[in-house]
Structures are given as C-alpha cells and as structure tokens.
Assembly symmetry: C2
Homo-oligomer: 205 residues x 2
Amino acid sequence: MSRMPLEERREALVAATLAVVERDGIGGATTRAIVTEAGMPLGALHYAFASVDHLLAAAIDAVTDQERIVAEAPLATGTGADLTEVLAAGVEGYVSLLVERPARELAYLELMLHASRQRLDDGPGAGGYERSYDVLAGLLETAAATAGCVWTAPPRALARHAVAMLDGITTTWLADHDTEAAMAGARFLASALAAHATGRPTEED
Amino acid sequence: MSRMPLEERREALVAATLAVVERDGIGGATTRAIVTEAGMPLGALHYAFASVDHLLAAAIDAVTDQERIVAEAPLATGTGADLTEVLAAGVEGYVSLLVERPARELAYLELMLHASRQRLDDGPGAGGYERSYDVLAGLLETAAATAGCVWTAPPRALARHAVAMLDGITTTWLADHDTEAAMAGARFLASALAAHATGRPTEED
DNA sequence: CCTCAACTTGGACGGACGACCAAAAACCTG
DNA sequence: CAGGTTTTTGGTCGTCCGTCCAAGTTGAGG
C-alpha cells in the first residue's frame, strides 16, 4: 500500500467499517472483512488502531458526529405555508430516505446499540445524539420561521422528541416494511410538534 | 440431563438464549454460552434446533409473541381523570421499567434488528410488532374509557405511532441515560395521542 | 429379560477469529 | 550513498466458533 498519513488511514478504515456494517451487519465487521473492504493488508488495522473495539468506537463517533438527519431543502416558502405541512414534508423526506436505503439506517442503529451496551453500567457516556438534537432543533427553527410561527416549548426539547420518534419510525418500518404506516407516523409527529407552536401569528392579531 | 419433552427443551433453550442476549448482547449468544446458561450439554442444542439461527429465530418469535408493553394497572378511575394524564402515567410507567432494566429492552432491540437485517431483501416478513400494536390499541381503548373520551382516529393506527415513539424513547435513553428527558418524551407522546380524541364529552354537550 | 427407538452426551473437526511480530520496504537525515 | 527511523506487510499463534457424530443412556412394548 502506498504511503499514507496515519490520520487519513484511520478515516479510510472507519469508512470501510461503516460500509461493512451496512452490508453485513455488526457481526460481520471482522478485521479481515474491514481491511479487505479498505483494500489494505491485514496488519494495517492494528497499526492504526489498538484493537477492533477501538476502531468500532471511532466508527460510532464518526456516525454521531456526522449530521444523521439530512435536512431536505426547506420547502419553498409558499406564502401561506402551514407549519404542520412544512414539518410533515421534512419528516416524510426522511422516511423516503429510509425506504430507499434501509441498510444504512439499520447499520447506524446497530452501532448505536453496540455503544449503548458498553455504556450500560458506566456513566451516561459521551453525548450520543447531541449532534442530532442540534441539527433538528435548527430545522425546527427554520420551519417555524417559514410558516411564521413561534415555538411555545424549547425547540431543543422538541428536537429530542422528534429524534426519538424518527428512531421509532425507523425500527418499526424495518420490522414490517409498511411505508404507508411510516408516512402516517411522519404526519403524526408533524402535528404533534406543531401543537407546541402558536398557530399563525396573524390569527392572534 | 434428565429426560425432557422436546417442546419443553426448546422453550428452555429459548429462555436461556434471551438471558444470554440480555447479559452479553447478541454477539455473545453462542452455542456454548446458551447451553451453559440452560445447564445442558453442548449437543442438546442441535438436537432441539437445526442451527443456532433457527434458535435465534425462535427466540425472536418468543419476544414478539409475548406482550412487550406491560400495561401498568390502569389508574384508579378517578372521577375527573384527564386523558392526557392517564396516558402519561402509562407511558411513564414504561420508562420506569426501562430505567430499571435497560438490558432487557436493549436485548429486545438487538433481536429485532437482527431479524430486520435478514428480512432486508425479502418480503415484508411475518408481522413483527403486530402483537404490540394489538396490546397497545387495547390500552388506548381502556384509557379513553377511563377518561370518558372517544378516539377520533383509529386506535390501531395511534397504537402504531405509540409503539414507534416508545421504541424511540428507548433508543435515545439508552444512548444518553437522560431519564428526565425520557419522561418528558412520555408526556409529549401522551398529549400527542390525546390530541386525537374528543375532549371530555361533557364539554361537547 | 430382551429389543428397539428415542433421547442424551461430550469429544472432534475444519474454519474463522483477534492479536502479535519479525522481516521487508519506504522514507528522512546527514 | 550510508545509517536510522517509521511504516508496511503477510504469515503465524492460540482461541473459540458452529456443526457433526459415534457412542452411551433411558424407558416403553413384547
């Protein structure tokens, strides 16, 4: 293998690990499978990481650091945009992503649970979903602005609830592949969130 | 080992499997760990099941068949029971269960994801959460009756959303161990559900 | 008591695993 | 080019895995 900075090699191994977990599940994430995926010789893994567990941990960090919930470009700011519809469109966008590439979401959940098990008896553990909460809180603010509404509850708290429901929509869809029901769940979440915002401010004038 | 009917032996192995997964995760569910947990010799497993995968599948079926969401005894039917509070109490009861025995919920999720991965490319697969939906739908009916309300959406659909949110509350709590936030999620779910019922019928007279 | 089928048991086999390491190669400094 | 350090490589070790199987044990029917 060509010479390569250590950090870059680590990132390549992390990327290969994510690909392997997406394809074969966390049980298939073995040293040999990972280095094969990365096109590296066997010894490369233990030169960059102390053990596979360390690599797994780095892969989990990479997932949590990255912005899981990719925002669909906010809907065109139609003049009379309804908050519930704006939110529903966003969540339904996530469901479309899930249906299109379920193995990716499945891999994320497997990694999350793997990390959760190690933390079972320890302290709370380094913030797991924190980044998702931040991203989603930002989206909520944007959505409210688009619809001309104001949140009556802390967006950050609402974001946590939204992340939870998104996770649940994912696990249930993975179990039964019922896309229509998942979309209904998206609308349920949207209206539940909208209940914590003022209606159109114009109604209050 | 004492003589034992085949079916009873299968059930004992399934129970041992669930115990092992709860303690060591799905990765620790090996033939030897399972038979040791069950107090059986090594060969017993392959006499009762064709392979460990078949045993795993049986364990998953056992989980889905059993009523995951144990209903807290419905709140005393106070005269002026508020639907949101009745629901919140129930969901908070589940959160208490989760906090008290997180490894159990973690094991269930691991098994569910394991089954989901095998079904990724197949058809929808045998109903996974169906039983949970049924149980929860029944609880919703009971809660509405207690509070003297009527659902304005199909309880079965609401049950699915509730199961999803419960799953999400579980995964997020497992990630950050934030019990207070999980309780807030419980109340969020309760009020979101209550929004799909008529207020107290007395108000509509 | 004998027979036979059902059941039980633990050893054995081939394979895959994580980890380690000695040698080879590449690179940098003088 | 020579010497020394870092990086790369693939072979090897001990362990554990799932599965198989050939014996051993049990208990009911004749």
